[in-house]
Symmetry: C2
DNA sequence: GTGGGCTATTGACTTCAGGTCAATACGGGA
DNA sequence: TCCCGTATTGACCTGAAGTCAATAGCCCAC
């Protein structure tokens, strides 16, 4: 069946997302995908020049959705509420797209620079959402200890979240509150004394 | 040149470790390795039945060395000193085997279960070293919030450490102390009030 | 020393998946 | 109805993983 460029592209992208979420990169063959789409392999290569490009396109779409979910929270919240709401959105989104999230974060192709860049982009956006946009950020940005700690906290979140996907021993609210609390403890540890209100 | 089984095996393992540390899994070909070892490809397959097995063998060796480095610290230290010493050994070892460490943690084959198991083994050993062997552990083990937090902290460490390898903005001692401090803050947050001495 | 057997070693072969390309089918506009 | 652009095909190429029957070198019994 002949399809318009955009429709065919969207169909292939959707198929790829499903396949790469369910199976590992190497376990998804282009022939399989073409067969699923009921087209020839040549046509698939007409739309995506390499398997890796197709994979990255799918991954980017997943990442973009995650970023939208996390960053579309009210801007006028207090820092701690902002973090809590962002984490809530993050966890909610992940709950609904478990397989996609895991394949995103586990990085099907460990060392591919483009894949790394996609994941890094998600982290940067999270960093911005949780910290840069907060009122005291201007005083913290540029402080290595601070920046390193916040990135470390993001590692904490990713780790915890992946564990949680596999084996949810705490409720979403509990995880959210735990991560929030730890973020602020971390900030307290690395902040200049002026911020240590407790 | 004809070699004894063990020697040939060791030679191939060493070559593989070097190659896989320097380049990505897919960028290392069996033909290359065989050529480097000045043997035929068939012989290589006589020693390691698949490329993946060879890769995992190299990775396991790297992981084992890291574990040895971290766990061979005096057993009679106070918990906080134990953690600090363990982290010091960890960072020292990583400094000396940067490429190997990064290839271990980035997981050249993201979704391979055996690779995941190797990395998971390292984490488990670190968990044990830093926490289980400490005096108050019996009261904390089994508490989900606690276990999740410590695993999260390990994520914090891995993240921070990889960043640090690429862009060392703090000294090793500073990173070590930061990670130690954060571990104890995390423990404080999730511990029953009885442990909150500060 | 020599013949026999064990094992390290070879190299040509197979397989399979990613990627290429010239040729074709289809549809809309003049 | 013809023409042209583009979606589509399928046969082909390539390179790397993995196989295997055959060989070469060494040690030991005689």
């Amino acid at each position: 069946m002949r399809l318009e460029n955009d429709q065919r592209r969207a169909q292939l992208l959707a198929l790829a997302r499903t396949a790469f979420s369910a199976r590992a990169y190497d376990d998804v063959s282009i022939d399989d995908l073409a067969r699923d789409a009921k087209i020839s392999k040549g046509l698939l290569y007409h739309y995506f020049p390499t398997k890796r490009v197709l994979y990255v396109a799918g991954l980017s779409a997943i990442a973009a959705e995650l970023v939208v979910a996390v960053t579309s929270i009210p801007a006028d919240l207090a820092p701690i509420e902002r973090a809590r709401a962002g984490l809530d959105a993050y966890l909610e989104h992940i709950t609904r797209h478990r397989a996609a999230f895991i394949s995103l974060m586990r990085g099907g192709i460990g060392s591919d620079p483009e894949v790394a860049e996609v994941i890094e982009g998600v982290r940067r956006r999270m960093f911005d959402t949780f910290v840069v946009d907060s009122p005291f950020a201007p005083l913290l940005i540029g402080n290595p200890k601070f920046e390193i700690s916040v990135r470390g906290w993001i590692g904490f979140v990713e780790f915890t979240t992946i564990d949680w996907c596999v084996n949810p021993r705490l409720s979403r609210a509990e995880i959210r509150d735990l991560l929030t609390e730890i973020l602020f403890e971390v900030l307290r540890v690395v902040s200049p004394p002026v911020f240590r209100t407790q």
